[in-house]
C-alpha cells in the first residue's frame, strides 16, 4: 500500500484572542494559562511551539485537539471548532504524546489500528494500513509484540504509526521525543518530520527543547508566561550557519520573558 498524500490541502488553524482560565479547586483562585493568544498556522506548515514549563503549551495542546473549551476567544480549523465540532474531526486530527500511551493489552499492530477502528474502516483495510505504517517505522518484525515487550523508542514508533495511520490533516505532538535518548529522539524526529511532509499534514510540535524546535519546525513560535506570543520565527530566514545565533536569541527571549531584539514578531 502506498502512502497517499492529502488530496485536499488541510485547512488553516486560526487562533483568535484565546484565553483559558483555570480555577484551583482548593484555593478557588483563578490561574490564567493562556491570555489573549493570536496565531495563524498555514496549511501543511510544521510549527514548533517552544516555551518554558508552565507557559501554557500543554493547555494550548488540549484546546487545539478539542479536549477542552476556551474560556474566551476561538480556535478554528477551517470553519470548524475542534471542541464544538468534536466528532467532525474524527480521523482528521491525530496526536503523539510525551509517553507512548499505548494500550498495554493490544499488540503493536492493534495499537496502530486503533484510530482506524474508530473511524470504522473495514478490518482488512485497517490491518493493511496499520502494517504499512509499522513497516515504515521499522517495526515489521514486532507487529505482534505487546508494548511491554518493546523498548521505549519502539513504543514511541508505534505511537507515531498510530497517529499517522489515519493520515490526519492535523498532527499534534506534545513533547513527543523529550523522554528518549538523544540518538533515538533525533532519529524519530527526522522520521516524524519526513512522514508529516509526505502526508501533507499540518504539524504542531510542542517542545521545551530548543534544538528540537530549530531542527524540526518551518516556523518556531515562542511562548512566554500565559502563552504570550514572544516570537514568531520563520526558520528559513535563519539559514543553518545562523542557528547558534537563533538559539541564543530564543534562549534570551525565554529567560527574560520578553522578545529578544534579534527576533522581531
Amino acid at each position: 500500500m502506498n502512502l497517499k498524500p492529502q488530496t485536499n490541502s488541510p485547512p488553516p488553524i486560526e487562533v483568535r484572542s484565546l484565553r483559558k482560565v483555570f480555577r484551583q479547586t482548593t484555593s478557588g483562585q483563578s490561574v490564567v494559562a493562556i491570555d489573549r493568544l493570536d496565531l495563524t498556522i498555514a496549511p501543511k506548515e510544521v510549527v514548533a511551539i517552544v516555551g518554558q514549563t508552565g507557559c501554557g503549551k500543554s493547555t494550548f495542546f488540549d484546546l487545539a485537539i478539542g479536549l477542552d473549551a476556551p474560556t474566551e476567544g476561538t480556535i478554528r480549523i477551517g470553519d470548524k471548532s475542534p471542541y464544538g465540532d468534536f466528532d467532525y474531526f474524527r480521523g482528521k486530527i491525530a496526536t503523539v504524546f510525551q509517553q507512548d500511551r499505548l494500550l498495554p493489552w493490544r499488540s503493536a499492530l492493534d495499537n496502530a489500528k486503533l484510530p482506524l477502528e474508530l473511524i470504522g474502516l473495514p478490518e482488512a483495510e485497517q490491518r493493511e494500513r496499520a502494517l504499512t505504517w509499522l513497516n515504515r517505522l521499522g517495526l515489521s518484525q514486532f507487529t505482534n509484540a505487546y508494548p511491554h515487550e518493546l523498548s521505549g523508542g519502539m513504543r514511541q514508533r508505534v505511537a507515531i504509526a498510530r497517529a499517522f495511520s489515519v493520515q490526519p490533516e492535523i498532527l499534534l505532538a506534545d513533547e513527543a521525543f523529550g523522554h528518549l535518548d538523544e540518538v533515538t529522539a533525533a532519529e524519530l524526529r527526522e522520521t516524524f518530520l519526513a512522514l508529516a511532509r509526505e502526508c501533507g499534514s499540518t504539524a504542531i510540535l510542542i517542545t521545551h527543547q530548543l534544538e528540537e524546535a530549530i531542527g524540526v519546525g518551518d516556523r518556531i513560535v515562542v511562548f512566554g508566561k500565559s502563552a504570550k506570543l514572544l516570537a514568531d520565527i520563520h526558520v528559513a530566514q535563519w539559514p543553518k550557519p545562523k542557528h547558534a545565533l537563533l538559539r541564543e536569541a530564543i534562549q534570551s527571549t525565554l529567560q527574560n520573558d520578553k522578545p529578544d531584539p534579534r527576533l522581531a514578531v
Binding site: 485537539i65 478539542g66 479536549l67 468534536f86 466528532d87 474531526f89 474524527r90 480521523g91 486530527i93 491525530a94 496526536t95 504524546f97 509517553q99 500511551r101 494500550l103 498495554p104 493489552w105 493490544r106 486503533l114 484510530p115 477502528e117 474508530l118 517505522l137 521499522g138 517495526l139 518484525q141 514486532f142 505487546y146 511491554h148 515487550e149 518493546l150 523498548s151 521505549g152 523508542g153 519502539m154 533515538t184 532519529e187 522520521t191
Partner: protein, 260 residues
C-alpha cells in the same frame, strides 16, 4: 529504519503446581480424623459425630449429580446475571456523576444487609423457589461486580483516557475499546471473590425452602444426623469452588497474557 535498542526479555511465568506440602497436610488431617473416629467411643464422643473415612467415602459415592448440577447452574446463572447488571450499572454510574450520587448510597445499604435478611425477604416476597435463590444471589453478588468495576474504571490512567479521547471515539467505542479491556484484571478479581461468596450464599438459600441442590441435601443430612453426608456434601462444595476458581484462573491467564 532498523529497530535499535534493547528488547526486554519475556519474564517466564511459572506453571501452576500442586504443592507437596498441601498433600502432606491433607494426609495428616485424614490420618488424625480416622484415628479420632476409632477413638471416639473411648473419648465419650458419639460414633456418628466422627464417621470413618470409609463411611464418608460411601456418602461421597451416593452423591446425586442432579443436586450438584442444580446448585452449579444456580451459581453460574446468578453470577452471569450479576456480572452483566453490575458492569452495566457501573458504566452508567461512571458516565453520569448524578446517577452515581443517587445510586451510591443505595449500593452501600444493599451491601450492608446480611445474607440471612435477604433470604427472609425473598421468602416473604416471592413465591417461586428458583426466583428466590436467584434474587438472593444477584442482590449479594451484583453490588460487588458494580463497585469493583466502577473503582477500576475510575483507576484507568488519565493519560490513556486522554489519548483515547483525542482520537474521538463514540461513547460505545470508548467503553468497548478502553474501559472494558482496562478493567478486565479487576473483573477477574471480582469473579474470584464472587464465586466463593455465591457458593456460600447458595448453600444457605437452598437450606431454606429448596427441594433440590446441595443446600437442600445438607439440610436432609442434618435431619438424619448424618455427619458423613454433611462431610461429603461439604467436600463437593469445596471441590466445586476450587474447580470454578481454576476455570477463572485459566481464563485470566489466557486473557491477561499481555501483562508483563
Amino acid at each position: 529504519m532498523p529497530p535499535e535498542e534493547h528488547i526486554p526479555a519475556p519474564v517466564p511465568v511459572p506453571d501452576l503446581i500442586f504443592p507437596r506440602q498441601t498433600l502432606v497436610s491433607l494426609l495428616v488431617f485424614a490420618i488424625c480424623w480416622e484415628a479420632l473416629s476409632h477413638l471416639a467411643p473411648y473419648l465419650g464422643i458419639p460414633p456418628f459425630a466422627i464417621p470413618s473415612l470409609l463411611r464418608i467415602a460411601k456418602s461421597v459415592a451416593d452423591i446425586t449429580p442432579l443436586d450438584v448440577a442444580v446448585t452449579l447452574a444456580r451459581v453460574i446463572g446468578a453470577l452471569i446475571v450479576s456480572f452483566v447488571l453490575g458492569v452495566a450499572a457501573a458504566m452508567a454510574m461512571y458516565r453520569s456523576p448524578t446517577l452515581d450520587d443517587y445510586l451510591h448510597p443505595m449500593i452501600r445499604i444493599l451491601m450492608a444487609v446480611p445474607v440471612v435478611s435477604w433470604i427472609l425477604f425473598a421468602v416473604l416476597w416471592f413465591p417461586g423457589v428458583e426466583f428466590r435463590i436467584g434474587f438472593v444471589l444477584v442482590v449479594v453478588c451484583g453490588p460487588v461486580f458494580l463497585v469493583d468495576s466502577l473503582d477500576a474504571m475510575r483507576s484507568v490512567p488519565r493519560e490513556l483516557r486522554h489519548m483515547m479521547q483525542s482520537f474521538r471515539p463514540t461513547t460505545l467505542q470508548y467503553f468497548i475499546k478502553l474501559m472494558l479491556p482496562a478493567i478486565v484484571p479487576s473483573i477477574f478479581t471480582s469473579w474470584k471473590v464472587n464465586i466463593s461468596l455465591a457458593i456460600r450464599v447458595v448453600t444457605i438459600a437452598e437450606l431454606v425452602g429448596a427441594v433440590t441442590g446441595i443446600g437442600h441435601q445438607l439440610s436432609v443430612a442434618q435431619e438424619l444426623f448424618s455427619v458423613a453426608d454433611v462431610f461429603a456434601w461439604t467436600l463437593v462444595l469445596v471441590v466445586l469452588l476450587f474447580l470454578l476458581e481454576a476455570i477463572v484462573a485459566r481464563a485470566e491467564k489466557r486473557l491477561l497474557r499481555w501483562r508483563p
